[in-house]
């Protein structure tokens, strides 16, 4: 059923080099030529069973997948977002691809990963600046390459504190009761089309559990890398912060330059208990495609967290610069009284990229609060949409929301859109929403230039100033990376 491919074909290299020279703006666009095991293209029940078997999964996990798959088949692909794409051919993707490690050959399960990382894969992560072998790094990293997690660092150190930080596949094996307790509770398998697909074919992802009263001393992070052409990545991440705990979790992504679309449909579930706090930061830099956004990543993601207990807090921060199409609404269900939800987002689109992103803040508990700060930047011929919902249910006495959506247009071929939905069912709630649209003023540019600053620098300075409120929420190194990404992504968009 599976087939081992060797990708080191000269012709392909040539093609890739050609593509790369067309895509100077995307520096993560190299391809790794490790030996990989890739399923044949196609999706049916046998494939779902095979994925499960490959990962040696218990029956309950297989049942979850099959149930989701059955449901997915009954759904229609959604096209309501502002993003326009032609229906995808789900049979034209491969649903499992993993680097074959030299240590254990074909029959490699998840257990043996630690010992043998394919040197090519290790090199790839090193080139991306992901510290999978650096003992002195101050973050713990789970590195995911196509369908599987290839390395998780610092786990012993974290284990001493009772923190579980491992790949999702391992968690299924090692902590089945925890996974079973939380899987699908925040994002049910029937939530939406892509969540159903993810539930059926989930590849790998990260599992984090922070026990009661523990503050994670270091940032935890996951780095996603899609390498194989025409594979989908369907990671599933679950993060649980038990009572009074704290964690800052970071997520970064990239993919090589390909000329066909790659599909990324992730599901993230976050559960925050009483008095706990989770900061979830993402820098998304998937390959956006060439000048016409041919061949970029289709990034259809469901991220949702629940503030289950009193005084809990969940904060989403994202810098989105990549992908041909992004469709993503990290949300907070504010169930516990006094719980707090935050969403800070910078989304930049250039060329023909399309981003439709925002958040949902569902207020259920008393005195719940939410803040939404969204900065959309459109350049080139792109479309950038904020779509968000603030819902105050009748029980949410004294709820408060503040929303600010600012858009900036760079050039006159792009679009910036704001679609907020505000539903208030409690009179004691207080909701404020503001949105503005602007561009970089001629007078601002001239002022900078008069002080000797080049136009390109002036633009990147003004743009970063525009995004500042969001970047200040990102961990330091991440903020820097995000600023650089903005500069790179904007290159050639002006003048």
């Amino acid at each position: 059923m599976s087939e081992v491919q060797n990708n080191a074909e000269l012709t392909q290299y040539q093609e890739i080099n050609d593509l790369l020279s067309k895509n100077k703006h995307y520096k993560e666009g190299f391809v790794t030529t490790a030996n990989v095991e890739t399923f044949e293209k196609g999706l049916n029940e046998t494939v779902v069973r095979a994925i499960s078997a490959k990962k040696n999964e218990p029956q309950w996990m297989l049942d979850f997948r099959l149930k989701a798959f059955e449901h997915w088949k009954s759904l229609e692909e959604p096209h309501w977002a502002k993003a326009v794409y032609e229906p995808l051919d789900y049979q034209d993707y491969s649903y499992y691809s993993a680097p074959e490690c030299s240590a254990c050959g074909d029959a490699c399960g998840t257990e043996a990963q630690q010992e043998g990382i394919d040197p090519e894969v290790a090199k790839a992560f090193a080139a991306l600046g992901v510290p999978i072998e650096d003992e002195n790094s101050n973050v713990a990293v789970d590195a995911i390459f196509d369908s599987i997690s290839v390395s998780t660092t610092k786990r012993e150190e974290l284990a001493k504190l009772g923190i579980i930080f491992c790949s999702f596949s391992e968690a299924v094996q090692d902590y089945p009761e925890l996974v079973q307790k939380y899987l699908g509770t925040v994002v049910p398998y029937h939530d939406n089309y892509f969540a159903a697909l993810n539930s059926a074919v989930a590849s790998d992802g990260t599992f984090v559990y922070i026990p009661e009263g523990v503050r994670s001393p270091i940032d935890l992070s996951t780095y996603f890398r899609i390498n194989e052409a025409k594979t989908g990545q369907f990671e599933r991440t679950i993060l649980i912060a038990d009572k009074g705990s704290y964690v800052s979790y970071l997520e970064g992504c990239s993919a090589p330059v390909r000329d066909t679309y790659q599909l990324h449909a992730a599901v993230v579930e976050v559960i925050v208990h009483e008095d706990a706090e989770v900061k979830y930061s993402t820098v998304q830099n998937w390959y956006p495609g060439d000048e016409d956004c041919e061949g970029g990543i289709l990034n259809f993601v469901t991220k949702r967290g629940i503030c289950e207990g009193k005084n809990s807090k969940l904060s989403w921060t994202q810098a989105e610069t990549g992908s041909a199409i992004t469709w993503k609404y990290p949300s907070c269900v504010l169930k516990g009284d006094n719980s707090i939800g935050e969403f800070y987002s910078v989304a930049l689109t250039n060329r023909r990229q399309q981003a439709d992103t925002g958040t949902k803040m569902i207020h259920i508990g008393k005195n719940t609060r939410s803040t939404i700060i969204s900065k959309g930047l459109s350049a080139g011929k792109s479309d950038n949409t904020y779509r968000g919902m603030v819902k105050i249910t009748p029980t949410a006495e004294g709820a408060r929301n503040f929303t600010q959506c600012d858009s900036m247009l760079i050039g006159d071929q792009c679009g910036a859109h704001t679609f907020p939905y505000i539903e208030v069912e409690n009179s004691t709630a207080q909701i404020e929403h503001e949105a503005t649209t602007s561009r970089i003023g001629e007078d601002q540019l001239f002022y900078c230039q008069q002080r000797g600053i080049s136009e390109q620098d002036a633009i990147s300075m003004i743009v970063n100033g525009f995004c500042k409120e969001v970047f200040s929420e990102l961990p330091l190194e991440f903020a820097q990376e995000a600023e650089e990404l903005l500069a790179i992504s904007l290159e050639g968009s002006v003048g």
């Binding site: 096209h79 309501w80 326009v84 794409y85 032609e86 229906p87 995808l88 051919d89 066909t260 679309y261 016409d292 956004c293 041919e294 041909a324 199409i325 023909r352 009748p394 858009s407 247009l409 760079i410 050039g411 006159d412 071929q413 792009c414 679009g415 910036a416 859109h417 704001t418 679609f419 907020p420 939905y421 505000i422 539903e423 208030v424 069912e425 409690n426 009179s427 004691t428 709630a429 207080q430 909701i431 404020e432 929403h433 503001e434 949105a435 503005t436 649209t437 602007s438 561009r439």
Partner: protein, 453 residues
């Protein structure tokens, strides 16, 4: 290989399945079309109605799953099929109370039919001002397109389709080039019979540099009968020519169980000014929609609404504003005061086309919830394709500001009165754009009376 293109998706006609009640209602209205068509002598009109009917039978009524109808429930409405019967006799006495207390040219429409006997004598209108009944216009088949100018757009709206199916009467109003109609034209739309459809199709045409003030008032004659229910379905096309100035005020004060749907399709030409205000206080379910296209340079527009809803009223006001040319300015302020289990809905879209550089668009929505079970749903949207624009929207929902109440109390005003004063001031703010004091006072009176009644 998948390719990106803006080829259309969605909106493909699916063979829909309808629940029995819905199906019955659909057949009922289709029958009304057939009845009308039996007696018409204008074949163009008959085929127009027939085409609309076919479309209606295919798509039915919108449901809450439709993006634009998620907040406006129609289930009650669908269960009450409304009739279309010849008008009953209404006297001057019946309508006296609803006429304005300021000088105006008065036109009366009873259950959707233009009433010549109740309207002012129109032969004395100033030169260059024409008012006719649409029914009369339609007697000349060649003139049919006078009132179906933007038909394609109209039929994008479910109630627009229904309006065309039942197209029979309304008013046609034209102000010629350089003519300023000083006196306001006041149109009283009366729901006279219970369970009756008032289907109204109007066309307002302002030629270059013309000026007009139009006031419309929607009332039910038997509002005191608590079960009285009428269904008013209006489509109005307004064309504001170059440098023309159009001021419009619409007061909707129908009986509490009545239904109101009003779609206004407005086109503005270069240098023109539009100022329209909707005041909503009546109806079980009401929905007032402006579809505004600003099609020339240097256009100004203002669209405001002031809505007060109580009990289980659903009050919906929507604007769709297209900036299509250079240097347009649009202003909007929509205010809602909600009590009881009322639901307020505001949906606004500002769309700025690529050619519309230097657009300045602003949309504000502010809502006051007076009771625990009132509900407000808001969607203020921007869709922007030009870079040199200033666009913003704001929305705020909450309770009365305590500091304000306290400030008034500290000046010796009792709390209930303080609350009334603040609420009233809140609701009346959008009226500031109405420039004629007499009209503004008349409107303010109607709103205050409702609010304090």
């Amino acid at each position: 290989m998948t390719t990106l293109s803006s080829s259309t998706w969605g909106n493909k006609p699916l063979a829909k399945k309808f629940a029995p009640v819905v199906k019955a209602a659909m057949e009922h209205y289709a029958q009304l079309t057939d009845d009308l068509n039996k007696i018409t002598e204008n074949p163009g009109l008959a085929s127009l109605r027939e085409t609309a009917k076919q479309q209606f039978l295919l798509q039915g009524f919108p449901t809450r799953r439709d993006e634009d109808w998620g907040y406006t429930k129609l289930t009650d409405f669908i269960q009450k099929p409304f009739r279309l019967e010849a008008g009953i006799h209404v006297t001057h006495n019946d309508i006296e109370a609803y006429l304005p207390d300021y000088p105006a040219v008065r036109i009366v429409m009873v259950d959707g039919w233009f009433s010549e006997s109740l309207s002012d004598d129109l032969s004395g209108l100033p030169k260059g001002v024409t008012i006719e009944s649409v029914c009369d216009v339609l007697e000349t088949p060649e003139l049919t397109d006078r009132v179906t100018h933007q038909e394609k757009q109209i039929e994008d709206e479910p109630f627009g389709v229904l309006n065309t199916m039942l197209l029979n009467d309304g008013y046609y109003l034209q102000v010629s080039r350089n003519v300023s109609m000083e006196m306001p034209i006041f149109v009283l739309h009366v729901q006279a019979q219970d369970h009756q459809v008032s289907n109204v199709r109007n066309r307002v045409l302002l030629e270059e540099n013309a000026e007009l003030t139009l006031v419309e008032s929607f009332v039910s004659l038997n509002a005191s009968e608590s079960e009285f229910s009428g269904f008013t379905n209006v489509v109005t096309e307004i064309e504001v020519g170059q440098a023309a100035r159009c001021k419009q005020v619409v007061l909707q004060a129908l009986a509490p169980r009545s239904y109101y749907f009003n779609n206004q399709f407005i086109e503005q030409a270069e240098n023109s000014v539009l100022n329209t205000l909707y005041a909503g206080i009546g109806g079980q379910t009401s929905r007032h929609q402006n579809h505004l296209k600003m099609n020339g340079k240097n256009i100004e527009s203002s669209q405001n609404s002031a809505c007060y809803a109580e009990d289980s009223q659903i009050m919906d006001s929507r604007t769709y504003t297209e900036h299509n040319e250079f240097n347009g300015v649009s202003r909007q302020l929509h205010k809602y005061v909600l009590s009881g289990q009322a639901v307020g809905v505001f949906d606004g879209m500002i769309k700025v086309a690529q050619a519309a550089q230097k657009t300045d668009g602003q949309m504000d929505n502010k809502n006051l919830l007076l009771s625990d079970s009132a509900q407000m749903d808001t969607k203020p949207k921007l869709e922007i394709y030009a870079d040199d624009v200033k666009c913003s929207h704001g929305s705020a929902t909450g309770q009365i500001n305590r500091d304000q109440i306290f400030y008034l109390q500290a000046r010796g005003i009792r709390k209930p009165q303080a609350i009334r004063m603040i609420t009233e001031a809140f609701l009346l703010e959008p009226l500031e754009t109405v420039s004629q004091p007499a009209i503004r006072d008349w409107l303010a009176g109607a709103l205050s009376q409702k609010l304090n009644g």
